[in-house]
Subunit: 155 residues, 3 copies
């Protein structure tokens, strides 16, 4: 083995810079219709974080979503619920897809607009969120049941 | 080489856990204005998937988008089209950017709200989507032409 | 070391395919309320890009956002501002969260709808953006101050 090549291997390993992937699947109990702060629930499921990397968090549903927003004042959560309910109403007269209930098509639209995954930097073994940032589970159905997630961590 | 360091190298390699990147560029034929399920078209372009990893799918345009939603009932696709067309109309009186056509500025807004990339977990050599999740190409122009994509796969 | 294993290590290294992570934190000066093209500002902060990989750009705030849109005509930027201001108004009568100012709750909603991170492919040492794509900083507050970012680069 040439000395040069070996030095590159050794440097990457010693600096813990060779990327590795770790993946965890889990579910969360049913949440009621609305927006819910779940940062600590998520962290408790995914275990120890690497020194530096990224977390991709993915929700395996089309009527719920994930976003990041203010983690301090619960009125932000309720104002999100109010605004989204007013904006995409259940009685939208042109919707054709309604046999799963009047909350279903609005839930699909909200899910795509909010998004179903987050990619968050990891720094010093923690999610590198801003002071006021927390992870929201967005439940857009009245009885959405347990929701399934995939967490993929790169280091 | 110290035995300890070599053991780390060997463990990572044997477990196929050393991350690698693979990137594919491709285009899809023109789709008409609206939302289109393209999961199998995308998969046919990107070839075999690794055991574990992430797919980042990126569309190189500002008047189209990518999202994930229901893969079963075509009325979801048409209700998406109806809602987005009503919500951001072509005749919005305050828009200044109109010399590329009345569908252009609404297309830019929809593209940013839906988003231009998806990051999806890969598990057991498959996209780890939920049962009802499929990839939508969102064509927000009347004559958008062929659309270009970059798929980046980490394992 | 077995020849087979060593060949895998050597191939990955020689092809520069072993993934590595690099992370940079920085801030940008205060921008006024609205949408701003910041592609070159971002690139100047993150330095040389790898041959192939992904950039994840994350803004550590809940009242600002990041998106990709047209990089050529400034009327697109002003039409974004007009549309978002009209759509989520400051005087929305049902908002409870208003003690930080009338622009605060609309800013939270816009931030989640636009999103707080972008993941962009890197190809040939450049961001692999489409011809018309640029990075927008979306400032949803009137006095948002300096904004903090984390750039995570995988190669």
């Amino acid at each position: 083995m040439s000395t040069t090549i070996w030095m590159i291997v050794r440097t990457n390993i010693l600096k813990n810079k060779t990327a590795m992937v770790n993946q965890i699947e889990f579910s969360l109990p049913e949440y009621r219709y609305g927006f819910h702060l779940v940062t600590s629930d998520i962290l408790s499921r995914i275990g120890e974080l690497p020194e530096t990397g990224l977390l991709n968090l993915f929700i395996k549903h089309t009527s719920a979503g994930l976003t990041i927003n203010e983690n301090a004042d619960s009125s932000v959560l309720s104002d999100f619920k109010t605004f989204f309910s007013d904006w995409i109403p259940e009685n939208y007269p042109k919707f054709e897809h309604d046999y799963e209930g009047s909350d279903d098509m609005p839930a699909h639209l909200k899910s795509s607009i909010i998004g179903q995954s987050l990619t968050i930097p990891i720094t010093n073994h923690r999610l590198n969120l801003g002071t006021w940032q927390g992870i929201y589970l967005c439940e857009f159905r009245y009885s959405g049941g347990r929701r399934k997630f995939v967490a993929t961590i790169y280091t």
